[in-house]
């Protein structure tokens, strides 16, 4: 084991060094817009988590179990590094091994379930994992002192902890969690891991297995009668997702330095799902972009911290309702070019949103970075954008499909423009004098949004990668 690890260490070390040098300029740029240090790690870990759920979704399974696997990886890794002086590499290997093993054990019974039943069962799995981790010490302490099973339990515990006979068993440290985990995860580790994953995904899509999983997602029964072993591939997808999530768990534990069972609750499962939803499942780039964006957003928008919940919820809602293909569908030419898929107005609106979003964040942020302090008035620029985006979406999607929609849409677009103008004036009367470019761009973006709403005609509300409705 040691020799193998040493061997890998010799190969990997230079790779990490080169990566570090190569990504340094990017990191410097990110720092300017307020993303630095661990935040970059968290973003990359989120991207890895996004990929982990992408695998199960790609195979047509809606699994929320990945927070549980993340917990398993994090705890196994942390126990090894804190109690057995293991290196990060060893922790990673064993963490992934443990997650994979458990995925194989529970996969066979669980993956017989479909759709919402699978989603519910995986939620249950995550909760069981979290509670068992929390109660592990106490439960094992009681079992250890039991005359019949005590011997075996002692042997097993001996693998995890040296002092099996301590008065209070200390393995997962109950609700307090494990502390003093060495912070060994570097950005380079994550970048290399992510690149390897990206290559893996690229090849995966063009492999026999990738095609089989896509077929299962689209029509499980037909896939089966094309000679595809559905049960096997579902388990494989679940297994791959689990080991990737476990790896993310190991990395995050060794970034934060301390973990507790409540870090892996249902909220985490929802976060992981949100990465995939935001980015879109049309391609493997989606979850990566989704993870990076969603994790970076609260940092970029720190001034809006009071509204984080509101914004997060709103984004999830808007994306799932109005952009089911996720952010990546914006990058797909078919989104902009194909006939009848997305109506012109919607495209114009989307372009406006992107422009408004960019010009709202970037100029201020760059200026803020240059001054070394954060400016408070970003609020003024961002909120009207969010409002106008909301109004415009509402206009295009809800009013125009109706025959009499034209009149209302003009009316409402006028209101939207008025509201937005009022805010613009309010903002200008405030402290904002020096940031002009942003506002010109902003104006153009707004014009596009309102214009899009005005020219909207009955659209086929059908997104690029939207699935066909299921048959009941």
């Amino acid at each position: 084991m040691d020799t193998i690890l040493n061997f890998f260490d010799k190969i990997l070390q230079p790779i990490f060094e080169i990566t570090t040098t190569l990504i340094q300029p990017i990191l410097d740029q990110l720092q300017v817009i307020g993303l630095s240090g661990s935040v970059v790690n968290f973003m990359l870990i989120a991207a890895i988590l996004g990929i982990s759920i992408y695998f199960t979704l790609y195979c047509g399974m809606f699994s929320l179990a990945n927070a549980g696997f993340m917990a398993i990886g994090a705890y196994i890794g942390a126990i090894l590094t804190t109690q057995h002086d293991a290196s990060l590499g060893e922790a990673l290997i064993w963490g992934m091994f443990a997650g994979g093993l458990i995925a194989l054990i529970i996969g066979v019974p669980m993956l017989r379930l479909k759709n919402i039943y699978l989603a519910i069962a995986t939620i249950g799995f995550g909760e069981v994992v979290r509670i068992l981790i929390r109660e592990f010490d106490q439960l094992m302490g009681n079992l250890r002192d039991d005359p019949t099973v005590g011997g075996i339990v002692r042997d097993i515990l001996g693998l995890l902890v040296e002092d099996v006979d301590a008065r209070r068993l200390r393995i997962t440290y109950g609700p307090q969690g494990i502390t003093r985990i060495p912070r060994e995860t570097e950005v380079a580790h994550l970048v290399v891991f992510l690149l390897v994953l990206a290559y893996f995904l690229y090849r995966f899509h063009h492999s026999r297995m990738g095609r089989a999983m896509a077929a299962i997602r689209q029509d499980e029964r037909v896939a089966a009668s094309q000679g595809i072993n559905v049960v096997y591939y579902k388990n494989v997808a679940f297994f791959i997702g689990a080991i990737i999530a476990s790896a993310a768990g190991v990395f995050s534990a060794h970034t934060i330095g301390t973990i507790g069972p409540e870090d892996y609750d249902f909220g985490r499962a929802v976060d992981i799902l949100a990465y995939a939803v935001l980015g879109g499942l049309g391609s493997w780039v989606g979850p990566i972009i989704g993870g990076l964006t969603l994790e970076a957003m609260p940092e970029i928008l720190r001034e809006l911290k009071e509204y984080t919940g509101l914004i997060n919820g709103l984004i999830l809602l808007l994306i799932i309702i109005y952009l089911p293909g996720g952010l990546t569908s914006l990058f797909r030419p078919s989104f902009w070019l194909s006939r009848g898929r997305f109506d012109t107005a919607q495209r114009v609106v989307t372009a406006g949103i992107v422009l408004v979003a960019i010009c709202n964040v970037l100029p201020y942020r760059l200026e803020a970075g240059a001054q070394g302090r954060v400016l408070g008035y970003e609020v003024w620029g961002l909120l009207p954008a969010f409002i106008s985006v909301g109004v415009a979406f509402f206009l295009v999607q809800r009013i125009s499909p109706k025959p009499e929609g034209g009149r209302y849409s003009v009316l409402l677009a006028g209101v939207a423009a008025g509201v937005w103008l009022a805010f613009l004036i309010l903002g200008l009367v405030g402290q904002i004098e020096n940031v002009t470019t942003g506002y010109y761009l902003h104006l153009i973006g707004m014009a596009l949004i309102v214009g899009g709403a005005l020219i909207s005609y009955p659209p086929e509300i059908e997104a690029a990668s939207q699935r066909k409705p299921e048959v009941a």
């Binding site: 039943y117 106490q138 009681n142």
Partner: protein, 340 residues
């Protein structure tokens, strides 16, 4: 195997008070889960915003009895009888549930999107609703004044006489409560009574009325029911209203008992409600009621009869897991068509 003997140790349990605990906890769980189950059975979606409606219902009820001071984060006095909060919470919850439907579910239904998208949008709107509650009512806990809610255990007040027929019930209850060491406050009795009334009422609606027939038809197939002349969208709206009203009632009763109003109230019930409806039978109204009492019984059993009270949740989830594996339709549920 001391472990196992301990595990099923039932000798030291005080049965009467613990059964009362099961009944009132179970009533609350059932009431909460009923609305959850109703939406699942009619629309086939899991409305994870149900607990947010529950929380908003409680705040609406608080607003109804306290007045506008709640927006400043205070409730110094209760102007009207505190029980008025319950109908207010029900109406408020119902209206909010309809709004939730219009915002989060309706557009997806229109587009015939996969039902799993609706699960995600319900999560999104739940997050938003909690955030809005924080902005409107503040992040710090709110509570009604101490004397607003009758919170003493039932006892035999002075001035009651056995000669007065109206007092006999009260005396009997007080004696019973004292004799068996039962923790039974008016609020808890209220929870039990209101829940039972609402459950029976809902049962009546679903099985005996045209509306219930419509709901069952829609649950069976949206297409078929529109062919039969059922106004599907109206049915959805009514289902959401009823579900929200049940959530509002549950939220109000829950917070009347604890007198703590927080935007995070009910978040722990999202998953507990899920276990309830899964154990009872997804989409089955009777199942939700059974599941509520079952989960309460398991929790009480784990605490009262074993030394592993902390594992109560794990046991519930483990059972939940087993039920899904081997009887996905739950204990009372009918085998369902494969709905997403």
């Amino acid at each position: 195997m001391d472990f196992l003997i301990d595990f099923f140790n039932l000798n030291d349990v005080q049965w009467v008070p613990q059964i009362v605990n099961i009944i009132w906890n179970g009533s609350l769980y059932s009431l909460f889960a009923l609305g959850y189950a109703l939406i699942f059975s009619v629309l086939g979606v899991l409305n994870l915003a149900h607990s947010a409606i529950f929380m908003w219902g409680a705040y609406v009820g608080l607003w109804a009895v306290c007045g506008n001071t709640v927006f400043d984060g205070q409730c110094p006095a209760v102007d009207v009888p505190v029980w008025w909060a319950i109908p207010a919470a029900m109406i408020g919850g119902g209206i909010i549930a309809i709004l939730v439907d219009r915002i989060a579910f309706y557009p997806l239904r229109q587009r015939n999107a996969p039902r799993l998208s609706q699960l995600i949008s319900s999560i999104g709107i739940a997050i938003m609703m909690v955030a809005i509650a924080e902005l409107v009512f503040g992040k710090e806990r709110l509570s009604m004044p101490l004397d607003a809610i009758p919170r003493r255990n039932f006892d035999i007040p002075d001035g009651l006489s056995i000669e007065n027929p109206l007092d006999i019930g009260r005396i009997g209850l007080g004696m019973y409560v004292a004799e068996f060491n039962i923790l039974l406050t008016p609020v808890r009795l209220q929870i039990i009574v209101v829940s039972l009334i609402l459950m029976i009422f809902l049962g009546f609606i679903v099985t005996q009325t045209r509306l219930g027939q419509g709901m069952r038809t829609v649950a069976f197939s949206e297409r078929v029911s529109s062919l039969l002349g059922v106004h599907v969208d109206n049915i959805y709206m009514i289902a959401f209203f009823i579900s929200g009203a049940l959530a509002g009632a549950a939220g109000m009763l829950y917070t009347l008992n604890s007198n703590v109003f927080l935007p995070s109230t009910g978040s722990e019930l999202t998953l507990k409600g899920l276990t309830v409806i899964v154990l009872g039978g997804l989409g089955s109204i009777r199942g939700a009621v059974l599941g509520g009492y079952l989960v309460a019984a398991i929790e009480v059993y784990m605490v009262a009869a074993t030394d592993y009270g902390g594992l109560a949740d794990a046991v519930v989830f483990f059972l939940f897991f087993l039920v899904l594996m081997f009887r996905p339709q739950g204990i009372l549920g009918q085998p369902l068509p494969d709905r997403a």
